[in-house]
Amino acid sequence: MKDLKVKISGTSGQGIISAGDILSYATARKGYYVTTFRAFPSEIRGDGKCYYTLRISENRRLTATGETDILVCLDETTIYEGLNKISSNGVLIYDSELVTELKESREDIVIYGLPLTTLAKELNSERSRNMVALGVVVGLLKNLNLEEQILSDIELRYKLKSQEIIDVNKKALNIGFEYACKKLVRKDIYDKVNMQISGAKLIMSGNEAIGLAALAAGCRFFSGYPITPATEIMEWLAKELPKFGGKMVQCEDEIAAINYALGASFAGVKSMTATSGPGLSLMQEAIGLASMSELPVVIADVQRCGPSTGMPTKTEQSDLCAAIYGTHGDCPKIVLAPMNVEDCFYQTINAFNFAEQYQVPVIILSDASLGPRRECVDLIDLDNLKIVNRHKPQLKEGDIYNRFEDTPSGISPITSVGDKYGEHVITGLEHTEANAPTPAADVHRKMTEKRFRKLETATGQFSKAKTYGSEDASIGIISWGSTSGAVFEAIDMAQKQGIKVQALYPRTLYPLPTDWIKNFIKNKDVVIVVEANYNAQFKSTIVERCTHINRGMEVLEFLKYDGTPFNPEEIYDEIQKVAKLQKDKELLSTNKHTHF
C-alpha cells in the first residue's frame, strides 16, 4: 500500500485542525508525500463540522478528496456522514463512550469503537481526545514510524504556549499510540502499510507559499483586510515582514488596503494585498487606477463561493471574469492561476516580476481549496530565483523626465518618491507622455495602445502553460488553477484503461492564452473544459474564442459548483463517458461508410 487517506472529523472546537496539522507536518518531515484538505464552518465553535483529510503517499499526489481509508470521528454526526465514503477494507474509529450504539454500520470495513473519553480522562483533560485519537492513528500506521517525529512536532507547535500544554498533548498521544499497539485487537490491513520515504521536502499551505514568495520576491509592504480564506497570507506576512524591516498594515476595508499598496508602490516599495471575492469587488476601481497610472501591484484573490457573501469557507473558481474583466474601462493587467501549492510560490514570484517589469496590476487566482491546504513542495532554490526590479531612468539636473514616454515596448522608465530629478504626477485621468491630464482623442487612443503594447510585445514572456498526458490524445482537457491535481490523476486512471487524454493548463489567463489553446486543440476531437463555476467562465470567455481553428472539434464543459473541489474519480467518470461517445460516433461513421 503506497497511498492512503486519513480523515479526522468532528465538531468545530474539538481540535480537528490541530490534530490534522500535526499529523501532516510529521508525515512530510518524515519524508513521505502528503497533501491535505481542510473543511471547516464559518463559526468558530458551535455545531459546525470540521474535516481534515490527509493523503499520505510514496509519490506526489495532489488531491485528498474522494473515499477515505481511515476515518476518525470525534462526534456522532460525522460518523453517519462519512460511513459510506470509507473505502472497502477501510477503518472507522469513533468514541464508544460518546456513541454507545451505531445506528448504521457496514460489513466491508473494520469498525473500532474506542474509549477515547476515558483515555483522555486519565490525563484529566477531555480536550485531549483529539491527541488520543491521533495517537491511535499513528499506532495503526506503525510501519510509517511517525511517533518520534510527531512528539517533536507537538513540542514545536506548542513551545510558545506552555510546558504543561506540551506535556498533556504528548501524554495523550502516547496513550492512544500504546492503546493501538498493545490493547487493540487488529482486524484491519493497515499494519501492512509500507511506503518508501523520499528526500527532504517542504510542507506549506498555498497561502503560506504566496507569503513566502512575496518575501523572496522582495515585497516589503502588505496591506490587507481580514477575509476568509485569504487571511492566512496577511497573518503570515504580519509575522515575517517586520523581521526584514517590512510592514503588514491592517486597513479599515479592502478599498483602503489596495490604495495603501498603491501608495507604497509609488514610494518604490514592492507591495501587495490579498483578498477573496467580496474584497476583489471592492478593489476593482483601484485596480483600474494601477493600470492607468502604471503602478506595479500584486493582488492575491483566494476565491470562495459567491456571489455576495456566498459560502466563505467553500471553494469555487468563479472570480475569473471579475479578475480579467471586472474593472471598468480598457484595463491592461495580468492574471495568473497557480496549479498547486508549489505553483503558488512560483506564480507569486512571477507576479511580482511581471508587475515590476510591465508596471501593471497582477492578480493571482488561488481558491479556498488551494489556499488553506498543506502540501509537500520540493526544495526551493532561493539563490537562483530570477527577481526583476522596475526599470529606473538615469536622470541628472535639468533633464526633462516624461513619466509616460511612449517607447517601442510601451514600458516607460519609472522613478519613485525620493528619486532626484524624477518628480512627476500620476493620475487616473487620461494623460500625455508628460503626465498632463487631457481629454484629447488622439492622446487617449495613443496612450491606450501604449499601455496594452506592454503586454502585446511581451507575448510568451508570461507564465508558461503546462500540459499533461499523451500528446497524441484525441481527448483534451482544458482547465485552470487548483483543479490540476484531480485532472492529472484522472488522466492517469484513464491511461491505465487505455484511454489517452491530454490536459492543458494555461497558467497565464490574461493576456488571453489563445495561442496555447489554439495549438493544443489543433489535433483534438473533443475538449472538456473543467472548472468550478456555473457559467463556464473560462470556456465561454476564452476557450470558445479559439475553436474556429478546429471547427470539427466538440467543446464540452464539466462544471462543479457545490463548494467542494473536484475529485479524480468524477473527472475520470466524465472522461470515460466522453470516450465512449467518441467510440460510438466512430462506429457510426464507419457503418455509414459501409452502407454507401
Binding site: 523581521k243 512627476h424 493620475t427
Partner: protein
Amino acid sequence: MEANDYKGRVKPSWCPGCGNHAVIMALRKAMATLNYQTHETAVISGIGCSSRFPFFMSTYGFHTIHGRALPVAIGVKEARPQTNVIAVGGDGDGLSIGGNHFIHAARKNPNITYIMMDNEIYALTKGQCSPTSRIGTTTKCNPYAWTADRINPVLMALSFNASYVARGYSGDVKQLENLILGGLQHKGFAFIHIISPCVQYNKVSSYEKIKELSVPLPDNHDLEDRANAMKYAFSSEGLYMGLFYKTERQTYEDRYREIIKKAKSQSCDNITVKDVMKQFQ
C-alpha cells in the same frame, strides 16, 4: 527653496477667485520655509476641483480616485517614512465617499498633513450638495431643497482623535500659511479644515459671509484641552478660526518602528528568506 520653486508644469486650472488659489500659495510658502525638497515630498489627492492640486506642484504627486487620497498617502508614508506627505482634497472627497478613511487615518496618527478645502458643494460636477452643504440649499439635483444636516469636519477630526486640528479660510492667507506650517511641522496626523469659497456654485458661503461669521479662537485657548476645543468647534456663536487642538503622541511610523524592533529581536541577526523557509522543513 522659494515658494515659486514648487510651481508645477501645469498652471492652476481653478476659476479666477476660487479659494484654492490662496491655499496653494500658502502651502508653497510654508514648504519653502521648511526647505522641503521636491523629490522628498509627495502631494496626494482624490477627485474634485481641489484634488487637481498635485498637477500644480513640482513635487511627486498622485491624483488618485475619488475619496482615496488618505489611504494612498498613508501607503506612501508607511513605505517610505522619510517622505513629506501632504494629502489634499475637498469636502465631498474627504467627508462623503472617503469619510471612512478620515476616521482611521486620524486614529492611526501617521505623520502626514491633510488639507481639506471645503467649498460646501460638489463643484467639478457642476454644483450638487455635499456633506457640508446647508440644509435647504437648492441645486439642480435638489430643486426643492437639500434634506440632510451638515457635518462639522473640525468636530469630526477632534472626536476621531486627530492630533492637530485647525481651521482657516481662503480670505486670510497669512493665517493659512501659519496653520499649514504648523501642520507640516507637527509630528502626527495634522488636519487643516479650510473654508475655500466656490465663486461659481456656492453664492451663500462667499468670502464676505465667511469673514462676517469668523471668530478667532481666543489667545488663551489651551491647545491640549480637547473637550474645550470641541466646545469651540460646536459653537453656534460664530465660526472659530485658528488652531483648535494639538497634542503629541506616538505616530503610526513610531509604532511600526517598535514592531520591527520587536520582530528583529526575536529572530536571528541579518535574517534571510532561507532562515524563514526553515519553518516549512
